[in-house]
Amino acid sequence: MGDYPSMDDAQLMQAYAGGNADAFEVLYGRHKRALLQYMINSCGSESIASEMFQDVWLRVVNGRDTYQPQSPFNAWLFRIARHRLIDHYRTQGRAPKMENIDDENQKNIFQLALSPLTPEQLASINQRENELYNALQQLPDVQREAILLRHIAGMSIAEIAMVVETGTETIKSRLRYAISKLRTLLEVLT
């Protein structure tokens, strides 16, 4: 493998585009779990997520020459994944939509968000992963997308804005709504 493990993502991708297949293996190992988790939590189906996961990596392979090292590889990868998800939504006859929440609802949600879950509640949720999937599926697509990129892909607000191609304030707003609603849903589920 050489020095590939010590390289950053952009260097690895450039090395792969230059003909070094081992660089891709390192890159793939770094991001495969996060990407699959993102896909599963986005669509709620492991089999569909696996299929899309494979598609995304093949698009990375085939588009290796189009990668711009100036932008983070993580953002590029998840942008591809996002487009694949949008294709999936379209084949299902629906498009990603942004839910409008009025100020009153927002206030109530934030009230709920201020009360943390107990350890017992968390343990219970861990035992029932499907409930997390169910709660995520009840979020608007753009909010779910924001929270998944934040917590699974580990992106900053700016990186999420780059992937989603929108402003940072919009991302913050989506995250606030998503966290509040998710907490509400999980409390209800538990």
Binding site: Y16, G19, A21, F24, E25, Y28, K32, R33, A34, L36, Q37, I40, N41, S50, F53, Q54, W57, L58, V61, N62, R64, A113, P116, L117, L122, I125, N126, E129, L132, I147, R150, H151, I152, G154, M155, S156, I157, E159, K172, L175, R176, I179, L182, R183, L186
Partner: protein
């Protein structure tokens, strides 16, 4: 991996993060194999990057064909064909002359040889003119093909054979060589006849003949 140290603390929900961290998700090995195999496959089948020459190679090829067609086309259509036709015409003309001359030369040589064999090898006798029609008749394919010809073998050997492209053939027998030299003389190709005669004498220094070296 995570950059959660920004000031948006209200967006860093530890409980939510813990939920995601607790998810037991692992990528199946079969998926790993498929994706890694695909990543290696494209590396092995990827064509070399296009250089500027490769990029425009179809245009270079077309231009090269056009240039060659313009340059070589007229040469092929005009010059070589006309030279070839001219050489063929001259050759046929020469063959016709040779065939006519051979008959008369052969007749005189036959008489010389017969005289040399019968008396004292001195060429004195001349063939009678009435023999000529018989020799002329021998040139016909039907007579030539007949191996049971009533004529003596020496006469049959003197029947003129059509010249072919293989000029070395006539040098195999002294008689045919001399006939060819006679033909050259008749065709006014004296320098060539001299050269042939010199070569003949070199190969057959003791061959008896009344043939004299052609002079300019």
């Amino acid at each position: 991996m995570s950059n959660k140290s920004d000031a948006n603390y209200e967006l860093n929900d530890r409980d939510i993060a813990a939920l995601f961290d607790g998810q037991k998700i692992s990528v199946p090995e079969s998926l790993d194999d498929i994706i890694l195999a695909a990543s290696r496959q494209v590396q092995t089948v990827t064509p070399p990057p296009k250089t500027s020459l490769n990029k425009y190679s179809p245009w270079f090829a077309i231009a090269a064909v056009l240039v060659l067609a313009v340059i070589i086309g007229p040469l092929v259509l005009n010059a070589p064909t006309s030279e070839f036709q001219e050489s063929r015409r001259l050759k046929n003309q020469e063959i016709n002359i040779n065939e006519k001359m051979l008959i008369s030369q052969d007749i005189s040589m036959e008489s010389d040889e017969e005289a040399a064999e019968s008396v004292d090898m001195t060429p004195t006798a001349k063939i009678s003119p009435d023999k000529a029609p018989a020799l002329m008749a021998l040139t016909s394919p039907g007579v030539k093909a007949a191996s049971r010809s009533p004529l003596p073998s020496s006469v049959v050997s003197l029947v003129p054979q059509p010249l072919n492209d293989n000029e070395l053939e006539y040098r195999k027998m002294p008689e045919s060589w001399l006939r060819t030299i006679n033909n050259l003389v008749a065709a006014k190709q004296l320098s060539k006849a001299q050269a042939e005669y010199d070569l003949f004498r070199k190969n057959h220094p003791n061959y008896r003949t009344n043939f004299v070296r052609p002079e300019q």
